[in-house]
Subunit: 282 residues, 6 copies
């Protein structure tokens, strides 16, 4: 099979310097946060990265329902154009809260192009590995979005809980001392990180108290912790897989492509539909 | 109690003449489709109607996920401004597919203002009257949105099915002979209407085959049929309540107001939250 | 609309002085426990209060299944006569355990009169505000009744738990030192109350451990705590709505009346039914 | 083991001649409808039959929620006295709609005496034989009671549907030509019976359309059909067990007795409880 | 009725001396572990005990999925031969993890012979006594099997949790100090037993934290604790039934026999089926 | 990444000529039924095929629970040896009823080797494409196995129904005229096939009556129909994905391998476990 042509689309683009974790533009490798973690998965593809639509909700990372809605509406246009360009075999939506995913998938379906997204792909992978998963996530606002995705994707039976480690994104409403960027730098230098410690503790609680068999990460700003949490929990005696979204979304796109699939035309009907059903079961 | 000050916000505003069922602007009574059906409920309120944000998805009524997302993002801004204006006690979102509802409710919550919406209010009313409800709706695309709302609002156990009567809205992709405007005109003149017949038949199937105890209507373009379907089914021997969205959303807003409620601050956390929870159950 | 004529019916009537929390008879305001809390909701209605059928299970407040059954059977007759009198637009059943509610609603349905009840109305209101609610209740016996109502009304998915604060009603089998009447007096005087403290702690556990987004109260003898629990939890950082039954049942009756509804004739079929269904889905 | 001393308690007692299917009094064998079907199960017991409490709802068989409530409240007293008499090892409640069952079981629990009932026992037996059962029942009103029991006993996942064969009991509100007594006489004489035919057809629909693996009967006035339905369905190629309530309730009582069990003290707490739980899961 | 002829079949047979808790062969009483606990239930039957098929997975008690599969496949042959011999009215499978149960039941069904098994019978009994049960079990591996049975038998709604007391069976992979045989000996001598203490603590946690209303035991090597746990919990104030598998499986077999039942021919279709269904609901 | 080394293991091996659809031995391509359909997916792997363990249940294809158990126990040994050989990166179990899958996965987990299987992989893929899937399967016996897998893998919420087209495998108990081998030959020659017609009709019923959004095939003897059913349904206006097991199992293995995953160590604990959990949620 020919190497798949993937388009990776970020959730939104802020102005230069507005967000410490992800540059607002640059070479494709710079646009994929924590690129090193997925480089081997992209190596045998032809891939392109899109910085995301320019943010219209404000110049800060999204956390509230309102912000997710607005950046989702913006991203839809990028995906529509990408589909119409016929330059891509599959589209991978980056970002933990999946803004605009179902809508983008609808568009992809009409072009026969699989569209995958980080939370959605993680949840599917997680349930392949065990029945119940726990979500480790960063803030009350973002938890709300993750919980909403669990419901929308119908994983309520599988999701034991969303564990909040309370490290919100840098935003006007966040005035606490917690800084994900600093925590990440510290942890990657091998120094103690309160954020990582909280995530490991949340993971252990998810296993012992909630019954999680797999862990997934909520916000993409927390994905860098994946191997670190997994290693720490393994040391503690737990053989628990910890997932992050980019790798899952990339590989789910590849699998769908290889199987010649994108989405069911009955779950994502074309417009107009070729045929209509008198009765829809929810 | 003082009469509540309500703002009714349409889902979107098309250009003049683009949509036969609802004028693009005019006096408040003109902006509320089938006003006569709810006039008595608005009589003891101080109410205002907003024509909706100017549509940016195209100049036709919305049916697809993508279109609902875009008009939802547009409506959010109107609701935010209305909340900030302090001129309203409650906000009622008009339109059957509830674009932007949860996001608007989030905003309302931060201002202590209840926000209600048509599908959401109908589903709550329906389950007050009986355990299971059926949805009568107009097209494959719109069914998809209604089904998604059922999941998102967590009424899957209550919703027996979405019954499609296949009368799509006037849109570029709709090239069939079905015209809701014509059907409505015919039915209101007392002439036979294929759309109404289909809705009555769908209602009876929902009762006999699906086990519905209450019926709700999906698209607001079908709300005019409410009393007609109910009467026809009553003649056929079925004492089944048939609901439509405007009245339910208006009265749910009133009830919340009288009880001094808008939404739970734990389901719709403020930003930043006053306090955070380490664990969220989905 | 004309002011609705409401009949409020107590769950049972004890002999004079048998129950400290509610007089056995008197003016209508005396028959509505904690009248001040709902006075504003009754102000624009024409309302009457019924002291309840004379108790035949014993001369003490009900807690056991057997007692609820007996007082329920007694109350049914009052509701039947009230419906037949044509003097009321709606009937509100007072009392936390809803004795005889579904049976009374059946009767109301046949007369086109909405009948509402405290636990039932609270559960519906609670799920309008958030997905999951917790119940704060007074004793093992009463918890059993509340749990049974949750099942019967089909709110099992919504109810996170019934939290017991162990302050049983004054009854022959209750020989502990806990006295609700004394606790109430103390709390209303602004003094510390072990019962209120227990309720606040139970509420916080319901939020943090059980995932409650709204709180409702079980026994009507605990309804006086509603504003106090809510205020205390708000101080603790939780924007959690706390509901009590009287106000919810009154406003649900009003909403049903305004919408011209009582109950679905398919959930509460007339006797004999105008038409029968070959198949009933449970 | 000594033969168990069983008390069989009818649901209610009408006046002489008011009900063709069951005499209002007489020798114990006469008080057990279709005695021949369970004679072999009672043979190795010491059993007594109680005609039931004198009906106070009217002088006709019960079908409505209200009637079930009233006869349930009446039956509770008989069970309480029977328990206090210490003359019985177990109590079997006769009648299909289980009036007063949970309340009687509560009383039995306090005396260490198992109490079983017809619908409850059938549902447990049915799920021992297969996962899903269908209910064949006689009328809209009685269906409502059966559906309510399915919910209350928490068999909603197991019950595929209640199939109505529309042969109501003789009651003032029943003015149709259907007579269960005549149908039974006809069928037992080997003549065609419309009621039996309807039940067989309902059974086959339950298998083919609803997915039933076992069938149970709703109203005890339909229990006589058990062997006939089963034989007819076997002829049609279906190896489906058909259950009726008396035998199931008798044998469930025996099994509980042999195992030294009645009911869980946590599901049916004593009054006062020996110990209380801070949290009840529903 | 004639005394039933029961065949009790052990799960597997090890070599002489390989397993301290159950002799590899001997008189029938020796083959039934903790015989004294069920002697009274077998007294009025004609019973035979089979030592089980010779183990082919190794010479140690089973705990892993793989081991359960292998001994299950071996046991099937014994049951088939027993059914064909026409010497037994019912077959009771001994052992906590139910190896080969559904397959044996399939065979029994074809011969009209009820087959019961320990975990399956316990779960049915438990849900007759209360809605929710907890499982007390011995090890991570065995917990996995118990959890799988809960799913397979579709008791997920009823099972609150499997509580692990971490006393694995004697096996090559078990190198810890815990010895069930020694614990049992100690406890039966009235001396303190860490295993029993752990089970009592697990039972109390199941009640207080998980909401269990009945307790069942997982591995048959833990069945000896049944009366001891129940007594200890009763002392602690909990009227909680504790079940073990042998008695439940024996009495369930008796009940099925008396009612003339084995299993539904639609859940366990004959081969070939007498008639086929176009559609199977899961 | 290096091409993965896959071992494909058939479910069982019959004697020469016993089964027309799959040779008992031969080159690897011959051992993979309908090889052409998956050749492109195996092209970039290093793969080996195992003919399956010699059948011990009889010399015919498996359909009953008993037969699946026996061949499952046999296959476990092959997988254990393959894992110990360290020659394979992943193992793909061929065959529709997944005999021995969970047990093999347990073994794979201990060696860090992903093991996938046909029904399991199809169900996961199906739910990636839409929420609800229907199963098209060949016989009452095989339906029973498929239904059991749906439960065991916990897809009950997703599986709308198993549709039976009644074309049993060639077996001693099958004496009907239906021959899958002949139907397949006919259909592949482009001639009418009753089996294919039945499958297409079952698929359309699954869409229209059951609400399926994706279709999967039950028995591997029906996998050849996949592209034919899909094409026929597309012609009929349904954009419904139809899946078969080999391709799904192969690609799921590849995806797991690329992501460095096999299974959760908490769902498939090692023996002995490195650490144990006091409480397991089912």
């Amino acid at each position: 099979m020919k190497p798949p042509r993937l388009l990776l689309v970020n959730a939104f683009q802020l102005s230069e310097g507005a967000y410490a974790l992800r540059p607002h533009d640059g070479p494709r490798e710079a646009l994929v946060m924590d690129y090193a973690n997925v480089a081997h998965l992209l190596a045998d593809t032809e891939w392109t990265a899109h910085p995301g639509a320019r943010a219209t909700h404000g110049d800060w990372p999204v956390e509230t329902r309102e912000e997710f809605l607005i950046v989702g509406a913006n991203r839809v246009r990028i995906v529509r154009e990408a589909c119409e360009s016929k330059q891509y075999d599959a589209i991978v939506l980056l970002g933990g809260g999946d803004p605009g995913f179902l809508e983008c998938r609808d568009i992809g379906r009409r072009h026969g192009i699989p569209v995958t997204s980080c939370a959605h792909a993680q949840m599917h992978l997680a349930t392949m590995l065990g029945h119940r998963f726990g979500v480790i996530d960063i803030s009350e606002q973002h938890n709300t979005q993750m919980a909403q995705l669990v419901v929308q994707y119908r994983f309520t039976e599988h999701c034991v809980a969303v564990r909040n480690i309370n490290h919100p994104l840098p935003r006007p409403t966040h005035d606490g001392p917690q800084s994900i960027a600093e925590e990440k730098a510290r942890a990657l230098r091998g120094e103690p990180s309160a954020m990582l410690d909280a995530a490991v503790a949340a993971g252990e609680s998810a296993i012992l108290e909630d019954g999680a068999e797999t862990l997934i990460l909520g916000c993409s700003a927390a994905y860098w912790m994946r191997p670190l949490i997994e290693a720490r929990l393994r040391e503690a005696g737990w053989d628990v897989p910890v997932l992050e979204g980019y790798s899952c979304a990339i590989e789910m796109a590849r699998m769908l492509l290889r199987l010649g699939r994108d989405a069911s035309g009955l779950a994502f009907p074309s417009d107009p539909p070729r045929r209509w059903r008198p009765r829809r079961v929810v």
